[in-house]
Amino acid sequence: METTGIKPSIGSRIFDAINIVFMIVFMFVMLYPFINLLAISLNDGVDAARGGIYFFPRVFSLDSYTFLLKNDRLFSGLWVSILRVVVGTVTCVFMTGLLAYVVTIRNFSGRKFLRILFLITMYFGGGLIPTYLLMVQLGLTNTFNVYWIPGLLNAYYMLLMASYMQGLPDSLFESARIDGASELRIYVSVVIPISMPVFAAIAVFSSVGHWNSWFDVILYNSNGKWDTLQTYLRKLLLEVEALQQIQDAQAAYSKYRNISSNTLRAAVTMVVTLPIACVYPFMQKYFVGGITLGAVKG
């Protein structure tokens, strides 16, 4: 905290210097793994096996990326991931926002009941296995729908959005109601525009969650048809068959001989990370606001 007015003492200045050095080291620790993987992904595969690549590629090669550009599984994974983020986020934000609006309407008799019905789900649930069996029985396994329908409404997001909407002046809704607007209409044309900050925060949380999730993919969509980018990377990391396919491709085309599983994994990791790394700094205002809102709410 700035203690202006008095000249900082020597001890205070030494502390500042140490603190800055510490922060630089800290940032290095946060970022270095990504820099290292980027360097490996841009290196020749055979050479990379010798190890010792730190900041820059030793034998520069774009082969891992050109191989990926011709890889159908990567592209189908990318497509499914994007579709999932868009559909999942839009439906979740719209529906949970509507739920939050419904539980904040003062003259709605069922709002308390609805709120409690959802709050209970935050503290107790059926758990993994009963939920899995339900998805099987509903026929949601091996479909795209399993990515967005079970996540349509979220009690925690509802709490955040409702606490924001409670701070809005009632007169806004009343005047629209007097004009004869339906509640759905008020939600779309009044509530959403003025609640943009909280909608944006939830959209960040939801889209990052959708982009990053992989366990529900292997749990519910194990046939591989709806594999996302994350599951493709996971297969490259943990499953022998995925690597076998690459070796087959290498055997068929000699130009791919210079990639290795390590450089390829690094390249896919970069492809998976890059969209998030590019977007999140600009969303900072919203997610910090969302977290703080949650903290105030308790």
């Binding site: 203690t3 793994p33 789900t121 059926g126 899995y132 990377l233």
Partner: protein, 289 residues
């Protein structure tokens, strides 16, 4: 209004309350494909099997150890980082450090696993540096030996979420009344004195609250990270309640057994959260529920 609510009520009944009802298979010998109630009732058999299984103790040990390490390091690190960030004088530099610190929170566990395989593997830079500095004379298998697992996992967890967790503390620090600083100045407090006598006492409710929440969640020792980073050599050290229930319940098809373990964990977790809430009400006069 009810018209809008009814589909939502239906959704929550189907996706949240039917699975709760589905827990009753924990007391049956459920066989998939057959109608649920044609299965035999077995009472608490699955719970007994779990208590007597040779895996029971190391599953409990791993869950508590990983959570405990998470509370010791994962809980204190963000507080220290937030205090240090708060002491930075350059606003732009501070914002930049914060932005960088959030990055690992936004990446998936799959990416983290990929990073770990690349950095801690035999040719990874960690072994490379240790070899060059002469600390070791052959590569250490960080991910292939059980004794390293807790350390690797805890370090990774802290790395991933330390920046994210500072958000709450920084907002608490920002809320400290500026009159307190003025009073501190009058009393001749130095920078360290300000932190010790003004900032820390002011954010104490936040610290206590998050600590209580952490205790309430002690059975959640992670799941995705274990499934990705763990392997058969480290199983004795990574298997926690959640991964155990998944393995037996779904991968091996013992649905009833897995559901029983999940139910047991759910009940204990609920009791812990209720207890945490009670403590928080008494200690801080705030309810966390």
């Amino acid at each position: 209004m009810w018209l809008i609510s009814i589909p939502m009520i239906l959704w929550v009944l189907v996706f949240c309350y039917i699975p709760m009802y589905g827990i009753i298979i924990a007391f049956m010998n459920y066989i998939p494909g057959k109608p649920m109630f044609s299965s035999d009732w077995v009472g608490f058999l699955h719970f007994k099997t779990f208590f007597h299984s040779p895996d029971f103790w190391h599953v409990i040990r791993n869950t508590l150890a990983i959570s405990g390490l998470g509370i010791v390091f994962g809980f204190t690190a963000p507080i220290i980082l937030a205090l240090l960030l708060n002491e930075l004088r350059g606003r732009i530099f501070k914002r930049f450090v914060q932005t960088v610190s959030y990055l690992p929170h936004f990446i998936s566990w799959v990416v983290v696993a990929s990073i770990l395989f690349a950095t801690l593997g035999n040719e990874g830079f960690m072994n490379d540096i240790l070899l060059r500095l002469g600390f070791i004379d052959k590569p250490i298998s960080f991910l292939g030996e059980g004794k390293y697992f807790w350390g690797v996992l805890t370090t990774t967890n802290v790395w991933k979420d330390v920046g994210w967790a500072t958000i709450i503390y920084l907002s608490a620090i920002a809320g400290v009344d500026s009159e307190l600083y003025d009073a501190g100045k009058v009393d001749g407090l130095g920078r360290f004195g300000m932190v010790w006598h003004i900032i820390l006492p002011s954010i104490r409710p936040t610290i206590v609250l998050l600590f209580i929440l952490g205790i309430g969640g002690i059975l959640n020792a992670g799941f995705e990270q274990q499934l990705l980073i763990g392997n058969s050599q480290t199983r004795e050290y990574y298997e926690v309640i959640d991964t155990y229930a998944y393995k037996y319940g779904i991968q091996l098809g013992n649905y009833s057994y897995g559901a029983a373990i999940g139910f047991l964990k759910g009940i204990i977790s609920l009791l812990l959260v209720l207890a945490a809430n009670r403590i928080s009400k008494k200690a801080l006069d705030t309810s966390i529920l």
